[in-house]
Structures are given as structure tokens and as C-alpha cells.
């Protein structure tokens, strides 16, 4: 369980796993990222991606907060971080629906972390189903000519 939240279920490859005791250090501004060193960070979806740019190489994991499922800023932020060359783990943390899981993955997230309450309402099979839908999409065809 991560400190200070009631999250707790991580979805990876469509499967549930309890969140390990990962220490994500909450960062409120990009400047704070400078002194973080080799640690995982958690950021709000309003943080400027470019400001994190210089520190990205040393940060192993970034959790982007999803305060509400209908706040889609995290999707764009994830894409920007990937475009800046971020290679570490990206986690969407907060209110993300099973139906949004393929979107999150396609924007560059590796995993999603939800509350146990939500996991109870949207059990693993819904995430497995959603996981299957990641491949069939227009954007890959238009971007890379992939089928």
C-alpha cells in the first residue's frame, strides 16, 4: 500500500496485484524533482512535462494522479513524457475506469492503480476484457500504418 492513500490495487497486463510497498514521493512542482535522485515520484496531472525533462533519466517510475476519471489531462501528460524520452514505468493512479484502461496503455502508461473499493465494483475480468481491446485502433494505423 502506498502511504497516505487508500489505493491499493495495481493492474498490470489486465491482472490485479496488490500494490507493493512502493514509495512514490509526491512532487508538487518540477523543481522538487531535481533533488529526488533515484526515486519514484507521484505528480499531479497539471505539472509541466518539459520541466521534468532534465531529471527523467534517473527517475525509475512516475505515478500521474487521476483525480476523476473524466479529467483527461493525465493521458496527454503521459504522452508528453514518453515523447521526451521517458523510459521508466508510468502509472495512472486514482480514478481510472476499466473502459479507460486501453486508452491509458495507448497513451504510454504501463499500469493503473485503483482503490480496493473500485476493484470490488470492477473486478479483474473487466480489466482483462478491456486489455484485449488495446490493439484494434485507428490511431496506430494512421500513425504507423499498423493493422
Amino acid at each position: 500500500m502506498s502511504a497516505g492513500t487508500d489505493l491499493g490495487i495495481v493492474v498490470r497486463d489486465g491482472r490485479f496485484a496488490p500494490a507493493a510497498d512502493e514509495a512514490f514521493v509526491a512532487i508538487e512542482s518540477a523543481e522538487e524533482a531535481a533533488g529526488i535522485g533515484n526515486r519514484a515520484i507521484e505528480v499531479a496531472n497539471a505539472i509541466a512535462a518539459e520541466a521534468l525533462g532534465p531529471h527523467l533519466a534517473s527517475i525509475p517510475a512516475i505515478a500521474i494522479r487521476f483525480p476523476a476519471f473524466n479529467d483527461g489531462r493525465g493521458f496527454s501528460l503521459a504522452r508528453q513524457l514518453r515523447r521526451l524520452g521517458y523510459k521508466g514505468t508510468l502509472r495512472a493512479r486514482g480514478h481510472v475506469l476499466a473502459d479507460q484502461y486501453p486508452m491509458a496503455l495507448r497513451c504510454g502508461f504501463d499500469e493503473v492503480e485503483i482503490t480496493e473499493a473500485q476493484a470490488a465494483r470492477q473486478p479483474e475480468n473487466q480489466w482483462v476484457d478491456a486489455y484485449q481491446r488495446i490493439r484494434h485502433n485507428y490511431q496506430d494505423r494512421l500513425k504507423y500504418g499498423a493493422a
Binding site: 497539471a46 476519471f69 473524466n70 479529467d71 483527461g72 489531462r73 493521458f75 496527454s76 501528460l77 504522452r79 508528453q80 515523447r83 475506469l97 473502459d99 479507460q100 486501453p102 486508452m103 491509458a104 495507448r106 497513451c107 465494483r121 470492477q122 473486478p123 473487466q126 476484457d129 481491446r133 484494434h136 485502433n137 485507428y138 490511431q139 494505423r141 494512421l142 500513425k143 504507423y144 500504418g145 493493422a147
Partner: protein, 555 residues
């Protein structure tokens, strides 16, 4: 016309299956209503005043007889035998049951249609010129670009949860029939310095509570750069658009508050980075789509009988004068079928009428139909020689109303007869206006006139750009109608000005009669339209006619 390939087919089928699952999840409680709502909205399903409403996209307004017949079939099987064509080239069914909606969506998929992204805070159905590929003034058919944007925006993973809805329109002609500058992104196809065709991109247009005319953010965008450029605008908007107040969440407010130059700078900075992600330039993608929109094989037919019929039949003559315009092929014409019969509901068609229109299109219009934002149906490619037969068939089905562009060709949103957001009714107002001016037999005398009615500030009825705009409001529990004057939705887009205090439902039509009377008195001659007279004279003579008591007081 674009026909679905295996990918499109599989995609919409999987979306239907997904929605079927979402309905089940809603019913078994694994989705709350708060969570289900945006998902059903993404599939075009609203909850309206009396029932659910399913909004089906007619991408860029183009369809064929098979699709139109299926729309009729759906209306009869799961709804009440009619449909309502909207100002966004959609069709709305007003009475579906939740449990039937997945079946309706499957029936749509059978003919390559869907209801995806006709609602919700995502990129909506891309609209376009209803005369595309037929109009004599066109630079290029805008529909391949519109189809490319449909594919790109459909299920785009990054842009499904924007601050607010997002509308894109494109025209390929200098005469703008798609009101592009009232859209979040408005695109005009233009020629560059070397004669090559590209796009002029505007952002931040919109009607609603705070209306704005779109501003040009890029004067010339090469075709190759289209998708990465659009994606750059979307990314700036998704990250910076306001989410604290839904009335300030559209991109028009972001552009207004931040300033066009700064938004442009942000977009241009992102653009080269995003372009790198696209291995295929957009012009290549377009080239693959263009063959779907190859022009039909036009045939020359002798015009002798047509000219004789025109000379002999005054009804045909009147129909041709109002409802028929020039086609780029000299022996063809574009026919507009008016869905505005006297006293009728603007934009409604019965299942039977849809079938008649499908039959006529199949036989006489190279199997093509269009839906216009003015809530009419277009037969884009009719040989002039066939006009008498087409007119006769339309008349038989109650579709021969000769009033396109006249005072009874009214745009009206559903208003409080259906819409949950409405503050007043629109439909009965439209019915009354068309009935009254038909009685007065003044319609042709008045000439070009666009009345547009919205049942609330959201402005789905485009009242800001009506020559006469009418906005229905709730004033202390009573319907009240505000009039705006001098609006224009064409390439010379202008927002109308509020004339003064509103009118009750009973006072409204008499006020309009006074207004029209004043116009007939002050116009230079029959050639000077209401809008032209308004532009020449300003608001004063019209205000005086609307508010005679105030005029007297002032005197």
C-alpha cells in the same frame, strides 16, 4: 462514398459489444450512473425529457439509399416511426429503450454507421458542406479529409476526456455552407502560393453562452501536416483548457483568455515533435481514402422535355427556383428536399419519407444523399432532365415544399418538447411562424431569410447566426423569446445583435410580422435581402418596428 473496410467493420462491432457490456454492467451495478453516463454519452445515448435519445452520426452528412433505409428501419423497429435531423448532421431518435440500444447500434453497424462520439467531451461528428463534390464553386471535395479526421478522432486514446466537447467542420468551397467559423476548429480548403490545395485552420469559434467567431491560427497548412497539427491543438487544449467551470471549458475561452498568439506559439512548438510520431504524412493517408469519393459517372441527357415541363408547370418552376442550385456539371443540378413543410417540425422525417428519399436517390441521384446543417436533405447529383420526375415523386410523399432559403425554412432545435436542457420550446414557434407567413402569402416577396431558433443558451439552433435569431428563455416560469438581428453563418460570419427585451410566445409572431413589414418598407428593392438592408441601415428601423411603444415614447 466511404465504405467500411474490415478494420472499420470490426471496430464498430467491437464498440457495440463493448457498449452491450457497459449496459449490462450498469444494470448489475458494477458501473454507477455517474460512471455509466459518460460511457453512454460516448455512444450517443442521452437521457432527455421524456425518454432516452439516441444520436446517430451521419459523418460529413453523406449517406446512400441503403443507409437511409436502415435509418427508416430503426425508426420503425425501436422508435416511433420518425427521426429528427439536427444541425450537426446527425439523426436523433427520441424514444429508444435502454435495453434496445445495443441492437440499434448493431443495426447501424450493418450499414457502416455508428453513434460513437456524438456526445461527451470528445471530438464529435465531423461536419462538412452538404453540397460537397457537387457545388460549382468548390476547390476540392472536403470529404476525404473529413473521413480521415473521423478515423483519427474515433476512439483517440488521448482525447476522450477533454475539458468539454469539441467540434470540427470543414468546407472545400469559398462560399461557406458549413458555418466553419462557429466550430472549435474550422477548416477551409484554400490554395497556397503555388496553387496547391491546403487548409486554413481556425480555432475558438463557437456559439452558446459566449459566442465567438473562430480565429485563424494557421493560414496555410499543407495537407501532409494535417493530423499532427490537429493533434497539437488538441494536446494544448486538453492540458490547458479550463476544467473548473463547464461554461468556460470550451477552447474558445482558452483562446480568448490566453490570446491567439500564445496558443499559436504553443501549438507550433509541439507540432514538429508530434509530427515525428507519424510515420505517414496525412496526404498519403488521404490518397488512400480519396478513391472512395470518386465522382459518379455523369451522363448527358437531352434537356428538351425538361424545358417544356418547366414552361408548362408553375409548381415545378417555383420548386426549381427555390430548391435547386447549380451543379458543377452543366447538365446536372443539386436538389434540396425541404424538411420544413408548412406547420411541420423542422428536420423531422417519417420512416416512409426516408424510404421515398432513398428510392429517389437511388434512381435519380447516383445513390447519394446529404443531410444539411439546415436540417434538410440534399440530392446532390440529379440530371436536370430528371427534375420533373423527382419533383413529382417528392410531392407525392409530402416532400415537395418549395421554400429553401425562405422565411419558413427555419432551423429549430428540439427545445423543451424533447431536450432536458431547454429553457423554452422551439418547435411550436417554428410551426407558428411558417403557418403565419404562409397565410400572409409573403414568403416569396420577403425572399432570402434565415430564421434560427434555439430553446436555450446552448444555441444548437444557431440563433446567433440567423438573420433573425430567436432564443427561448424561462422568465419567471414563463416562456420568453429574445430576438437577435443581423446574424450570418456564411463565410462573412457575423454574430447577431440582441434587439431588446424578449417577447412572450403570443407576442412573438406579431412582433416578427412588424419586423418583416418594416423590412419590406425600407428595402431598396426586391434584390436587397433582409440581411443586406440590416447591414445598410443598422438596427434602428427594425428595433422601432419591434418595440413601437418605445419608439413612440422617444418621439
Amino acid at each position: 462514398m466511404y465504405t467500411y473496410n474490415e478494420f472499420d467493420e470490426a471496430f464498430v462491432r467491437s464498440r457495440v459489444a463493448q457498449f452491450r457490456g457497459q449496459v449490462e454492467k450498469r444494470l448489475d451495478g458494477s458501473l454507477t450512473e455517474d460512471e455509466f453516463r459518460p460511457l453512454r454519452l460516448m455512444n450517443g445515448l442521452y437521457l432527455q425529457l421524456h425518454a432516452y435519445m439516441l444520436r446517430v452520426a451521419i459523418p460529413y452528412g453523406t449517406l446512400d439509399s441503403r443507409k437511409m433505409r436502415q435509418l427508416a428501419h430503426i425508426a420503425e423497429t425501436w422508435d416511433r416511426g420518425y427521426g429528427h435531423f439536427t444541425t450537426r448532421q446527425n439523426i436523433q431518435y427520441n424514444w429508444p429503450k435502454l435495453k434496445d440500444v445495443p441492437d440499434m447500434l448493431d443495426a447501424l453497424a450493418d450499414v457502416g454507421m455508428h453513434a460513437i462520439q456524438t456526445s461527451g467531451n470528445c471530438i464529435r461528428n465531423v461536419t462538412s458542406d452538404h453540397f460537397a463534390a457537387a457545388a460549382a464553386d468548390e476547390i476540392e471535395d472536403p470529404r476525404p479529409t473529413a473521413e480521415l479526421m473521423r478515423q483519427w478522432s474515433t476512439d483517440h486514446p488521448e482525447f476522450q476526456f477533454l475539458p468539454r466537447k469539441f467540434k470540427i467542420a470543414i468546407t472545400g468551397a469559398p462560399n461557406d455552407r458549413a458555418v466553419v467559423k462557429s466550430h472549435d476548429i474550422g477548416i477551409r480548403m484554400v490554395r497556397g502560393d503555388n496553387g496547391e490545395v491546403g487548409y486554413e485552420i481556425s480555432v475558438g469559434g463557437g456559439l452558446g453562452r459566449s459566442p465567438f467567431v473562430g480565429k485563424v491560427i494557421r493560414e496555410f497548412l499543407p495537407k501532409a501536416d494535417l493530423l499532427p497539427y490537429l493533434e497539437s491543438i488538441m494536446q494544448v487544449y486538453n492540458l490547458s483548457g479550463r476544467r473548473d467551470n463547464k461554461y468556460k471549458a470550451r477552447i474558445k475561452i482558452l483562446v480568448h483568455e490566453t490570446g491567439l498568439d500564445e496558443i499559436r506559439a504553443e501549438v507550433e512548438e509541439l507540432f514538429p515533435q508530434i509530427r515525428e510520431e507519424f510515420t505517414h504524412p496525412s496526404d498519403e493517408l488521404l490518397a488512400a481514402i480519396e478513391p472512395h469519393f470518386a465522382p459518379p459517372a455523369f451522363v448527358e441527357k437531352p434537356l428538351g422535355d425538361y424545358e417544356a415541363a418547366l414552361a408548362a408547370d408553375p409548381l415545378l418552376r417555383s420548386f426549381v427556383e427555390t430548391n435547386v442550385v447549380a451543379h458543377k456539371h452543366p447538365s446536372y443540378a443539386i436538389v434540396t428536399i425541404s424538411l420544413k413543410p408548412v406547420g411541420g417540425t423542422p428536420g423531422d422525417a417519417t420512416a416512409e419519407q426516408m424510404r421515398v428519399m432513398a428510392d429517389i436517390a437511388e434512381r435519380y441521384s447516383h445513390d447519394e444523399l446529404r443531410i444539411s446543417h439546415e436540417q434538410n436533405v440534399i440530392l446532390p447529383h440529379v440530371a436536370k432532365a430528371d427534375l420533373p420526375a423527382v419533383h413529382a415523386a417528392l410531392r407525392d410523399a409530402g416532400l415537395g415544399t418549395a421554400n429553401v432559403g425562405l422565411i419558413s425554412d427555419i432551423i429549430a432545435c428540439p427545445g423543451m418538447d424533447y431536450c432536458a436542457l431547454a429553457t423554452a420550446r422551439s418547435i411550436p414557434i417554428a410551426q407558428e411562424i411558417s403557418t403565419r407567413f404562409n397565410e400572409l402569402k409573403l414568403e416569396h416577396e420577403i425572399g432570402q431569410m434565415k430564421i434560427k431558433i434555439s430553446g436555450c443558451i446552448n444555441a444548437c439552433g444557431h440563433h446567433h447566426v440567423g438573420h433573425i435569431g430567436i432564443l427561448g428563455l424561462d422568465r419567471a416560469g414563463v416562456e420568453n423569446y429574445q430576438i437577435t438581428l443581423g446574424g450570418d453563418g456564411a463565410e462573412t460570419m457575423t454574430l447577431g445583435e440582441r434587439a431588446g427585451p424578449g417577447f412572450s410566445a403570443e407576442e412573438l409572431v406579431p412582433a416578427l410580422e412588424r419586423l418583416i413589414d418594416a423590412y419590406l418598407k425600407v428595402r431598396r428593392d426586391r434584390q436587397e435581402s433582409f440581411l443586406e438592408a440590416y447591414r445598410r441601415l443598422g438596427v434602428a428601423p427594425f428595433k422601432a418596428a419591434l418595440y413601437p411603444d418605445q419608439a413612440k415614447d422617444a418621439a
